[in-house]
Symmetry: D3
Subunit: 135 residues, 6 copies
């Protein structure tokens, strides 16, 4: 069992806001991150897949193919978007790093041509990140 | 003459858009960056000041004081904001990295307690940055 | 179960030295790191907490609150200090990265307002780090 | 149980190629990476060892000693080499990051003076890495 | 006058070798870097262009267009190649970082649709880089 | 004229303190950095040399030789030391990043076997650095 990680990036705007709470409650919980016009990040997504390297090509999954799947299932939907309103699979989701890691997992787990998804890490900044392992 | 650089970061949303052009022209020029709801970045700002280190304290400018000025004149106005609409000193400015570096320079050049401003570098991402030296 | 990581930094001096061994033994074990006047590092501390994101705010723990706890329980005690002599909770501890990760764990494990501590990683330099998971 | 990680780097050329397949098949599988003259990387190797810190020196393993073993067992054999043809222990191995992590594991697992090998991560570039834990 | 920098990467093999010197002289000058089968790097190229931001789009040069020119004039010729033998414009050039920065300058200086080339920096590794400004 | 940069690191303790001022004045100027037992950093030193690449070897200066000179003239004197008291050439110098960049320049400017010293940058942390060009 070997693990392989592909790192990709995208830029997006988001707003931390729960529409089921009052504006006052949202401001208390999220502070600056609740700005109605949003703020943004250069997100880093690290996708780790595990499996046994094939004898034929020495790979768990071709990193080019893995990249294509990540682009197709995740990046092209979120890059240069406002995450709260412009992404189908984030509809009704508060776009914290925690929730993004879960939603990105759901987008990828059945889409890999080879190997099995092990972890998705989403970094919002050099200091803040979240990761999910399907547990 | 010695140079000293302080690096600070902020997160913001922006949209590349010239309101004097048609929507069609804006889309042609800016592509994805023209998304009306905006996208965002973790911006890195590197401010370089030059001068002669004082004999009393060995500094051109105290890095803590320099940080305070940068926070006060720039960061608190742009952090967690939508740059096109929520920042007084960016009113009417297309918020490219080029233009941000010029505007940040104007905000700082007469505000330093010691030393002289030499350069401001604004990085939008690990691949894209602009810098201005008041030339 | 999702994991969230907050990265913080501090600068400190330390000396690798076991007072129960002779000076000669200390020099043999630690080499340059045994210099009686100490040397120093920009330490990086990465704290990982796990739990289930709340439906109310989409978070395991608010990253701002997590930062406050780390500052209060760890950073304000060690930043700009000589770790061997100026930190109560490191009294009698040889300040290797291994031991720092254990002691920082003890300082945080019962202090988190939400979530459960999963891992503390302490990096002394870009090449050397240690982590502890309470095992 | 504490974990300690040492990061080292080396530069090498390699070619992704399975000599048991036809040239055409190799080109289809590996694309540009199949270039007969090879291409190269600045590899980063992160070796993680776990164990209990000794009461005598506060360490699982001395990072200097760990570095010496990594240099002796791995780096001096692969640094500035063409990995497909100039490394005994890679003879007959397709030098993907996956396979390198397994082979480096085999070179180190019985060579550590203290502690137990936990993980070896091999990064080919800032976007691509593999790791192996002996599972 | 504002400056804008685009960072791109490529992976290649090379060998430091002057065919007009004896093998013995080459080994003395270049040591490990003279290995006949070559070694390799993840190269980082940072291209800086200067000019006045246009009033129409706020840019010196569109970063996407700049990227396209760099890919077309430089990267597609050197990526995943052996630099000594597979690159037309490096024929007869010892591929040190110094010489690469000069040759990449020549490839770009008349190819920019807008702005003027100011500097090309070529980094071979995290510790070694060269830059050229056409002086 | 081409420029080449070598990056090296060292770890040291220091204290910002001017012995000609009162303790009270020192505390006011330097705050936490005035701690009598010192604090420390992982310093990064970037040395830039310029000149014309030789036709014989394609180099301004061999990066290995440049590294040797930097180790010999600077690093071995400051690594794992307390900069205020254990370094001959820093005697009587307040060890700010500004002053270190000047003193390191003086140690190197006449010691290079080839090329001419252009700049020395000393980084104390990821946010703070100084550089000197002999102006």
């Amino acid at each position: 069992m070997v693990y392989i990680t592909r790192r990709v990036t995208f830029s997006a705007a988001h707003r931390l806001h729960n529409p089921e709470l009052s504006d006052e409650e949202n401001r208390q919980i999220y502070g600056l991150c609740n700005n109605p016009m949003g703020h943004g990040h250069n997100y880093v997504v690290e996708v780790t897949v595990h499996g046994e390297p094939s004898l034929r090509d020495g790979m768990i999954i071709d990193l080019g193919e893995l990249n294509d799947v990540i682009q197709d299932r995740i990046i092209k939907h979120v890059d240069h978007k406002f995450l709260n309103h412009q992404v189908d699979f984030l509809e009704g989701v508060i776009p914290t790093a925690e929730n993004l890691s879960i939603k990105f997992w759901e987008r990828l787990k059945d889409a890999l041509p080879r190997g099995e998804l092990y972890e998705i890490r989403v970094s919002e900044s050099e200091n803040n990140s979240a990761f999910y392992r399907g547990e």
